[in-house]
């Protein structure tokens, strides 16, 4: 299934609920464009919910890292929420758990933004 993202806002936090695959091609491009649009529109607190993302490849991982640095360079914060087991495992073996703030509860995630 191609990647789809639905945006919602809670206070000053923008949440994007993604579903589908973050893989080379459309999925990676969709993630990149979504994060760039949010940053360009001034969003500083971005929460990517990956509850429905069951597949990510190296291109998708690279895009998540790129999203993280894009938001950070704009003095913002990007966090991840609700990882599926497969995405969780990939972030673990690639040591990206040491980079990303990964949350499992939406309310706590929202409160964790500075």
């Amino acid at each position: 299934m191609p990647l789809q993202g639905t945006r919602r806002t809670l206070g000053d936090v923008t949440i994007v609920d993604f579903s589908g695959k973050i893989t080379l091609g459309e999925g990676s491009a969709m993630l990149r464009n979504t994060v760039r649009e949010l940053v360009n529109s001034g969003s500083k607190k971005i929460l990517l919910s990956l509850y429905d993302v069951d597949y990510i490849d190296s291109s998708g991982i690279g895009e998540l890292v790129s999203a993280y640095t894009t938001v950070k360079n704009a003095s913002g914060e990007l966090k991840l929420l609700h990882l599926t087991k497969r995405v969780h495992d990939i972030l673990q073996i690639t040591r990206l758990f040491t980079v990303f703030d990964v949350q499992s509860d939406e309310n706590n995630a929202i409160r964790s933004f500075k």
């Binding site: 080379l24 490849d57 190296s58 890292v65 993280y68 497969r86 690639t94 040591r95």
Partner: protein, 152 residues
């Protein structure tokens, strides 16, 4: 367990669609070989990364070039080979994606994933100089009708 070697050869175009196709073929073979679902997923992903490597870095997305994939079921192993028409590379030249200074790199994790998901992974130089990726996964132990592993 396969009694003798079975082999599928596929000539892939240097197209994005070939990545999905290669993954799909390898997953079907892995399923047929009796791998459990999670291992089928890992094999498919490793092959996906191999073909992404050939598409992006080996053939540099040049549509004139081809990617040759071979999937082989030997009595004890499933072996997938991916050969591109690029310039080849040495594994020692590739930065370690787990090193602290490389964690924020946006590329360079494909080879790591292939190695992580397969039992053996190596890179050789193809006959025309391209990269020849060789991925090996041990076949699951055969299971008898009563669900117990058969003795060797």
């Amino acid at each position: 367990m396969a009694a003798k070697t079975q082999r599928i050869e596929v000539m892939l175009e240097t197209l994005l669609e070939s990545v999905d196709l290669a993954e799909s073929i390898s997953m079907r073979v892995a399923e047929a070989a009796g791998f459990p679902e999670e291992e089928v997923h890992k094999i498919g992903m490793a092959v996906r990364e191999g073909v992404i490597n050939a598409y992006n870095y080996g053939n540099q997305q040049d549509r004139q070039k081809k990617i040759m994939m071979t999937v082989e079921l030997q009595p004890d192993n499933m072996i997938v080979r991916v050969l591109d028409q690029g310039k080849g590379f040495e594994l020692t030249e590739i930065p370690d994606p787990l090193a602290e200074e490389n964690l924020l790199r946006t590329s360079g994790r494909g080879l790591f994933l292939m190695r992580a998901f397969m039992d053996d992974f190596r890179v050789e130089r193809g006959p025309e100089g391209g990269a020849h990726l060789i991925m090996v996964k041990k076949l699951p132990q055969p299971v008898s009708d009563n669900g117990k592993h058969k003795p060797e």
